[in-house]
Symmetry: C2
Subunit: 239 residues, 2 copies
C-alpha cells in the first residue's frame, strides 16, 4: 500500500467536469477530502487560495492536512479536469488510469482530444442554448464518439481516462432526454432518445450501459439526484 | 542507446503547430523521416492513410520503414501537436520533455492548457483577422503568458514541453512585428513591438530571447525563412 499525500477535491454535483475527477479518484481508491463549492455564491477564499479562475474541479495535493476551507500554502493547486486526470494517472500508476504502453496512452489521449470539446459543445448547444438544429449537432457529436469506439469494450480496450472523460456526459444524456429536461422544446427529449435507442446508435448505447455499470461511475453518480438538480437548475429551464 | 521504432513526421514550415513537434524531436535527438505536406494541395493519400482530418503535424510510429508517401498500415498514426508532445515525452524519457516529478509534470501541463488557445487565438486575431482592438487582445495574451513565468528560467524551471508549446509563436512575434507582416494596419507592427520592448514586458522578452537561443529551437527555425514565407502567405496579406 503506497502512502499518499493529502488530496482535497473542490467539486459540485452539477458539474460533469467534476464528475470526471470523482470517477478517477474512485478508480484509484484514493483517500481524499471533498468540499462542495456553491457555484452561485463562491466563498472568497476559493479564488484567493485554490483556483484564481474560481472554477471547479480543483484539487490541492500535499502539504499538511487542513480543513478544505483553509487550504495550506504548501500544497500544489491543480485545476482543469483533464489536467487533473493526467495528474491522477501519474500519482496512482496502480489504478491504470492510463496504460503503460505509449501507443495505447496516445490512443487514449487522442480520443480525449477529439471528443472533449465536441461533446461539451453539443451538450451546451442542445440542453442550454437550444436553437434550431441543435438536435442534429447533438446526434452528430454522439455519432462521432461512436465511430471512435472499438467494436466491443472500452475506448482503448481496457478502462482508461478516455472512458472517464466521456462518462459523465454520456450517462446523463439518456436520463435527461427521458425526463425531457433542458431548454429544447417540450417533447423533444424522448424523441431524440428514441433515435438513440434505434439501430444506428446500438454500439454507443451498449457502451453507455457499460459506463453506467462501472463501479467507479455507480458510486459517484445518482440518476435521481441528477434529475432533481436539473429540475431546479436555472440555466436548464425553458423560458 | 535505446533502439527506437521508425518515426515519420508530416509537417509544413508555415505551421507553428508543426514547429512544436520539430523542436521536441530535436530535443530527443530522434532519428526520423519528414515529409512536407503542401497545405493548399494535399496529396490524397495523406487523409486516407495518415490523418483523416488532413491536418499537420501528424506522425507515424512503428511498423516497417517505408517511404513517407507510402505509410505502412501497421504503424500508429498520431495527430494533434500537444498529443504528439505527450507521446514523445513517453517514448523518449531521457529527453525529459516532461520531468518525472508529478507536481512538476502537472505544472507543465497546466501552463500548456492555460496558454494554448489563448495565445493562438490572439495570434489569429491580430495577424490574420485584424479588427479594432486586436492589438490589445495580443498584448493581454502575452501579459498572461508573462504572468505565468517564474522570475527566471523556463516555465517549470527546467526545460519542458511547456516551453516547447509556446516557443513557435513567441519567437515569431517579434520578427513578424519588426517586419510589419500581417493583416493589421501598416506601421502597427513596429508600434506593438515597441510596447513589448518596454519595461512592462521585460520578463517575457528575456524568456523569448532564451527560447531563441535554445539549440532545439535554433536548429528548427530560420528567421529569414519565416519572413519570406509570410511575405508570400496569402492569408497574411493586407487587402
Ligand atoms: Ca491536453
Amino acid at each position: 500500500m503506497v502512502e499518499h499525500s493529502q488530496i482535497t477535491l473542490y467539486t459540485n454535483p452539477n458539474s460533469a467536469f467534476c464528475h470526471r475527477v470523482e470517477i478517477a479518484l474512485a478508480e484509484a481508491q484514493a483517500e481524499y477530502s471533498s468540499f462542495i463549492v456553491d457555484l452561485r455564491n463562491k466563498p472568497s477564499w476559493f479564488a484567493a487560495k485554490v483556483n484564481p479562475l474560481g472554477k471547479v474541479p480543483a484539487i490541492t495535493y500535499g502539504g499538511p492536512h487542513t480543513a478544505p476551507e483553509d487550504p495550506a500554502p504548501e500544497s500544489a493547486k491543480i485545476a482543469e479536469s483533464l489536467v487533473i486526470l493526467e495528474f491522477l494517472a501519474d500519482i496512482f500508476p496502480e489504478a491504470r488510469l492510463l496504460p503503460t504502453d505509449p501507443v495505447l496512452r496516445v490512443q487514449a489521449r487522442s480520443f480525449i482530444t477529439a471528443t472533449d470539446r465536441l461533446l461539451f459543445g453539443a451538450f451546451i448547444a442542445f440542453f442550454f442554448k437550444y436553437t434550431e438544429g441543435a438536435d442534429q449537432i447533438l446526434l452528430n457529436a454522439l455519432e462521432e464518439v461512436q465511430r471512435r469506439l472499438p467494436p466491443t469494450g472500452f475506448v482503448i480496450g481496457e478502462w482508461s481516462n478516455a472512458d472517464i472523460s466521456v462518462a459523465p456526459l454520456l450517462v446523463r444524456f439518456p436520463i435527461l432526454l427521458k425526463h425531457d429536461l433542458g431548454k429544447y422544446p417540450v417533447g423533444e427529449g424522448p424523441k431524440v432518445l428514441e433515435i438513440l435507442q434505434g439501430p444506428k446508435f446500438a454500439r454507443l448505447m451498449k457502451y453507455i450501459h457499460e459506463l453506467e455499470q462501472r463501479p467507479s461511475v455507480r458510486s459517484t453518480w445518482d440518476e435521481a439526484e441528477t434529475v432533481e438538480l436539473w429540475k431546479k437548475n436555472p440555466y436548464a429551464q425553458r423560458n
